[in-house]
Amino acid sequence: MRINKYQTENIVKIVLGIVTLLIVVVLFSIIAGIFIKGIPALSWDIVSQIPKGGYYFGKEGGILNAIIGSLYLAVGASLIACIISIPVALFIHTYLFQFPKIQKRIRLWLDVLWGVPPIVYGAFGFNLMLLMGWPTSLLAAIITVSLLISPVMIRAMDETLQHVSKDLFESALSLGFYKGEIGFRFLFKQAIPGITTAFLMALGKGIGDTASVLFTAGYTDYIPESLTEPAATLPLAVFFQLSSPIPEVKARAYAAATVLTIIILVISISSRIISKKLSKNRTT
């Protein structure tokens, strides 16, 4: 029996749909799997206390040090990344406006940088740290992570700036504005939705990245009080506690993973909402 092209199409549709469904199933199984294991282990004590004596043998304490450490690290790194990426993205669209070839080269370079694995950044951060004579500290980790997320941020902002109409730049230029003024005053405002989502994306990456801070953050049971102290982060807490043979400690790894997943989901969803709200009143 031969089937005609319409029957083929229907079969293909169903097959592709089922394969695509796999993505949703996987996402669901990740979230469900972690919540099922983690929520029973989650309690107020775990999120509100730092590890106490005998914590790693299953006694009292929580992961507050890791939660606070992660937040410090991610916010610090995202802010530094902003200081680097916003001007670069604006520079590409103002001073390099009439040089599309250079723009293309820079984008290619950024893609390479984006592809560099976090662990390699970690190794570089470690070398940088030794070179500068820093100890393993929050500062070293912040700098490593900010270098890691800058290319991502620049690319995301660049993407939004490309949608801003070229006429805006040309007419502002003809009115006698400096290129930098146009960038920071006009293009910046137009790109705010993109910049916000880029910032939140970077924040999520900063909280979630393990490999790059493995070398530089150190790990401590205390909440860091200054930039030169070591810091714990949530992914590191998950990673270290999971390798423990004691079931109570292992359960806390799942609890930490649950907290991490919730934070990431909140960031991810709020970035969608914010970008929708902000771009509503815009023409771009």
Binding site: F91, V112, P117, V238
Partner: protein, 304 residues
């Protein structure tokens, strides 16, 4: 008073602009120098180990005993290649079908949900993928390995790592593919349809041919991401130093080597050089794959 402020701001315009421009240029040069700085710092640290006679032994030797000064990186390199290869084989059909389904067949509301799911997956930290692998994938693979009578029935294996890595890299590749399939002009589609092709025939015979360079480039970049995936792979791959021969064997990829041993690298001579060399190899692999994907696109563009 107002006029005075105005004059002030006029007088300050130029210095402020100069400041802006310098700030932009410094930031740009940091970004441009960064890859070179990473490369050179790793090369500098790995230098003591790099002499031309030993390079073959270093890259293709399989003896890894740091305390005796034997640094054969081949088990790690082969594990990395094996894991990325398995990941790619899983990734290709799934990514292609979902990209086609989402852009061509899915009703709007379904494609919106799927895109949201992809976005959320893209934001997931790799440690979460790893944990998921430990909870879900490793037991499944372990059971399967037992049925097949494999030597390593734990499930911590190349296959498990390949599956986890394919899931963690998938959103990245999918986003590129989605963009690609959206770039197809409706004119092309309409022409194909008007010639009597069904929608699927148009996709299979026209779109896929037209988009071939972009698709190859996306998977190349995805492959390079798989090489760099660290924590997720490390948690499920078993970490046994050996040259893996079967998918149920445990392996020990390069990033895992780095992540597991950074603590003791200062205590054994040359150990840090070996680890930095493995980071350098990773960097070179990634740059090579980026270059490759760029070349693929350029090659086809020149032809068209």
């Amino acid at each position: 008073m107002k006029l005075k402020n105005y004059k002030m701001s006029i007088a300050l315009r130029k210095p402020i602009e100069l400041f802006r421009k310098t700030w932009m240029q410094i930031a740009l040069s940091i970004i441009l120098i960064l890859p070179l700085a990473i490369g050179f710092s790793l090369l500098y640290k790995a230098w003591p180990l790099l002499n031309p006679d030993d390079l073959g032994k270093l890259l293709f030797g399989s003896v890894w005993s740091p305390s005796q000064g034997n640094f054969g990186l081949f088990p790690f390199i082969s594990s990395s290649v094996f894991v990325a290869g398995v990941g790619l084989i899983i990734m290709i059909p799934v990514c292609l079908s979902s990209a086609i389904y989402i852009t061509q067949f899915a009703p709007r509301w379904i494609s919106r949900i799927l895109r949201a799911a992809i976005d959320i997956l893209a934001g997931m930290p790799s440690v979460i993928f790893g944990l998921w692998g430990v909870i879900t994938i490793v037991p499944i693979v372990g059971n399967w390995a037992k049925q097949q009578g494999a030597q390593n029935p734990t499930g911590y294996s190349i296959l498990a790592a390949g599956i986890v890595v394919s899931i963690s890299v998938m959103p990245y590749v999918l986003n590129m593919l989605l963009e690609l399939f959206e770039s197809v002009t409706s004119e092309l589609k309409e022409t194909a349809l008007s010639l009597g092709a069904s929608h699927w025939q148009a996709i299979k015979d026209v779109f896929l041919k037209k988009l071939k360079p972009g698709i190859i480039a996306s998977f190349t970049l995805g492959m390079s991401k798989s090489f760099g995936e660290t924590i997720a792979v490390l948690m499920v791959v078993g970490n046994v130093v050996q040259i893996p021969a079967r998918i149920f064997d445990a392996g020990y990829p390069l990033p895992a080597l780095l992540a597991n041993n950074y603590g003791e690298m200062m205590s054994i001579p040359m150990y840090d050089a070996a680890l930095m060399l493995s980071a350098l190899i990773l960097l070179l692999i990634v740059v090579f794959f980026n270059y490759l994907s760029h070349k693929v696109i350029r090659h086809y563009q020149a032809k068209a």
